[in-house]
Amino acid sequence: MSAGPYVLRVNGNDHEVPDAHLGESLLWVLRERLGLPGSKNACEEGECGSCSVQVDGELVCSCLVLAAAGVGREVTTIEGLAPDGELADVQRAFVEAGAVQCGFCTPGLIMAVDTLLDDLPDDGSDPDDLIVREAISGNLCRCTGYGRILEAVSIAADLRRENRT
């Protein structure tokens, strides 16, 4: 059953989606129709966070968003976090901290951390360990044991603070 054509706004650009099936998730459409495979497909039931994107600024699992219902929303994916050829603060922090191994969970985690840093109070303090852990508790990582990821969050928080001041 067709759902098209419709327009999705992703990373600041409007994308026409022709000939889509109605049941396709945002994750599927991003990956297979819009050429944006950065959001990952690890469980497709909201239990791993690999597909995390921001929809109107809120962190969600794109596998649980019906793509056609995303019309009129602002979607930000890992590909849209920084201009081409540049890295966002969280992305730089992940590389620097050694938070990347196989990398499959990485885009989703970076989206989660980016959202967390946006939501944290800008009082100059380091984010509380439990708050960080809870904020990324929906993102499974099987390689790192989270240690270097927590380190990356700390580095990213510093970078963002510097950027604000």
Partner: protein, 281 residues
């Protein structure tokens, strides 16, 4: 597909497509869609209907919009007015799920493990249902009729949930085998109505539907010293035993019936003690 902007939009679309998929947060529904297990010809999207969003106070009642997300249950004044609901919401899935999933969705799925349901049943919540034919209200225990079954008619949607504002402590406890992002093995909500001198207990994941521990409530109402806010240790024991008796659990991949009965008793004892610390040995 219909992207409804108003309740009327949504009701009209549902009247035209009674078998349509009603989509709010998508956190339950899309799992089945992704697996190809949910067949549908039409979708009515209701996450942009303002009338379903947020909550408001009407006298001694709170009207919670069906579109209230789990994340919103933990923000602002709600954790003060409905602490058990906020506590339950924080145990739902992950931050991603809590941003998208809604109260109405939790009700419509009617899973025995739905985390808000024990709270709502303890609060004697009323579910407000809406269709193009009008509005009807159902008590929660009449709304949820079985495992993933409820009284929602094809053309109906959940508009809101009405719960009382109570003066008294509230507790929600949930057992899962992971510290986050876990489906409940057993859960319990306990709310205290000081004015009415009553304790109400809702249980999750220990029966096909969320249940009240009625006998335990009746017993403990009379055993509590309401003036000092204390509960004798023996009464706490008896209460925990009666709560466990109200459970009708099964074995599944998440836990055994024996463990669930045991755990629900432990939760009952702890919840009651937190609400009535006085009288502890």
């Amino acid at each position: 597909m219909t992207i409804a902007r108003t309740l009327d939009d949504a009701c009209v679309a549902l009247a035209e497509h009674p078998d349509a998929l009603l989509l709010a947060g998508g956190t339950d529904l899309m799992v089945g869609v992704n697996r190809g297990q949910v067949g549908f010809d039409h979708v009515v999207v209701i996450d942009r209907v303002d009338e379903l969003r947020g909550w408001r106070r009407e006298g001694d009642e709170l009207v919670l919009g069906a579109g209230l997300t789990y994340a919103e249950m933990g923000r602002g004044e709600l954790p003060v007015l409905l602490p058990a609901l906020a506590q339950a919401a924080r145990t739902v899935g992950s931050p991603q799920i809590r941003n998208a999933g809604t109260l109405g969705g939790n009700l419509a799925t009617s899973s025995p493990a739905g985390d808000t349901l024990p709270v709502l049943v303890a609060l004697d919540a009323t579910v407000v249902l809406r269709s193009s034919h009008g509005t009807r209200k159902l008590a929660l225990d009449r709304f949820v009729t079985g495992v993933k079954q409820n009284a929602l008619e094809p053309e109906e949607l959940i508009e809101a949930v009405r719960v009382p504002v109570l003066d008294g402590p509230q507790e929600f406890l949930k057992v899962g085998t992971r510290n986050a992002m876990v489906i409940s093995v057993a859960s319990l909500a306990l709310v205290v109505d000081r004015a009415g001198r009553s304790v109400r207990v809702g249980l999750g994941s220990v029966a096909p539907v969320p249940v009240r521990a009625v006998e335990a409530e009746a017993f403990v109402d009379g055993a509590i010293d309401w003036d000092t806010g204390s509960a004798p240790e023996a009464a706490v024991d008896r209460f925990a035993g009666l709560v466990a008796e109200a459970a009708r659990p099964i074995d599944d991949q998440r836990g055994t019936a024996t463990y669930r009965s045991h755990a629900i008793g432990v939760l009952a004892r702890r919840a009651l003690r937190r609400a009535f610390p006085g009288g502890a040995p």
